[in-house]
Subunit: 205 residues, 2 copies
DNA sequence: GGGGTCATGTAATAGGTTACATGATTCT
DNA sequence: AGAATCATGTAACCTATTACATGACCCC
């Protein structure tokens, strides 16, 4: 019997967690949520597109985490259905959010995949690409830095930029790792390049 | 007009890149691929389950990146179709892999999402959870370290553990960040806790 | 007053995961 | 001989992304 790792959520899309979290503050209709998400630039942290939002809202309603309250219509615009959090939903959002904070998740960043296959490249080429990566990383770091500084200049409390600070920490680590990797490959004493190249000849004509 | 960022791949599942990469070494049938992926423990780097593999192979065939070669049958086992890389497929794998190495991708780690919503928790609770996170991170670091050391002890060239080294770098950065964050919240001089708590009262009865 | 783009939502399609199926092999 | 597990694949079911629709508002 296995321990119940990361119990399967009835709705697993992270967008749903955002929706639940916004609904804590009161009932909203989907478009309002969509708007709040865009305004807070949550799209940088949570995969989000218009279509998925409606889907997620449906799923949440079906799962009993939110309930449709009323359907109003204003002028000739389409009807808007207002949803409110249920008790269940409230519990789900707390439990989910707490879980994410306390338990690091196993993720699948693309660069991990790339590294696991990088042996298929010739070492010289790999080094070239890694050098380019360094530059791109610097670009992203600068960009993100600007974002945070911009918010700070507007008087936003750093609590609301904390996810971007985390990104910066990851980017810095990525950069340092990439640099180290280049060094390991190209070290003239006992770098990997020679052996890697030999191994490469043999399997890739 | 927008610059063509990360041109959309006809098949975007990373599992497909792994398949293409393995096929560089010669034609294989799907089960063989499945087996190789499992043996190399690629499941840690690339989201993989049995079902998706067959799907991805189909997609690749439809896209013209691989072609069915022959259909053999052995004893009474189901037929096995052997696939080979096409010229197009060969190009795709190089282009894709190079792209992933040189260009850092915007990702959506779950913890980023959690941080972007963490304001919904009471600061004291958040700190507790972050402390727990530190322990779990240490656990994962130790585990991963063991994995790498184990391989190394078996004489595996470090090139083939490089993706796990990268993970270690990220985990270390995560740990350092988490520690810093706890400190920022709890600093007795000008920690965020007080203001955060006030702000929290107001919106979460 | 016609061309964008905002507001609001539904429907069609493609993608991914789980469950199901079934002969073969191996273990006890 | 029956149980477990391997080998191999298909089908059903969710999920997620795109495309489509349409009235309102705003800009020149």
């Amino acid at each position: 019997m296995k321990e119940n790792r990361a119990k399967k959520r009835k709705v697993s899309n992270l967008l749903a967690l955002a929706v639940l979290s916004y609904l804590v503050q009161g009932p909203r209709h989907p478009y309002e949520l969509s708007r709040m998400l865009r305004d807070n630039d949550d799209g940088r942290s949570i995969r989000f597109n218009h279509g998925s939002l409606y889907m997620v809202v449906q799923q949440l309603a079906r799962a009993g985490f939110i309930a449709a309250q009323e359907t109003t219509r204003e002028g000739q615009r389409p009807e808007r259905t207002v949803y409110a959090l249920t008790e269940e939903g409230r519990r789900e959002q707390r439990d989910w959010l707490c879980g994410l904070v306390e338990e690091p998740q196993h993720e699948y960043p693309q660069f991990v995949a790339a590294l696991s296959l990088i042996g298929a490249l010739h070492p010289d080429e790999a080094v070239g690409l890694l050098r380019r990566r360094l530059e791109r990383l610097d670009g992203r770091i600068a960009q993100t830095r600007d974002l945070v500084d911009g918010a700070s200049a507007l008087g936003v409390h750093p609590l609301f930029s904390v996810e971007e600070e985390y990104r910066l920490a990851l980017l810095a680590a990525d950069r340092a790792f990439t640099e180290r990797l280049i060094a390991q490959i190209t070290d003239p004493e006992d770098g990997w390049a020679a052996e890697w190249a030999r191994f490469h000849e043999r399997q890739d004509p």
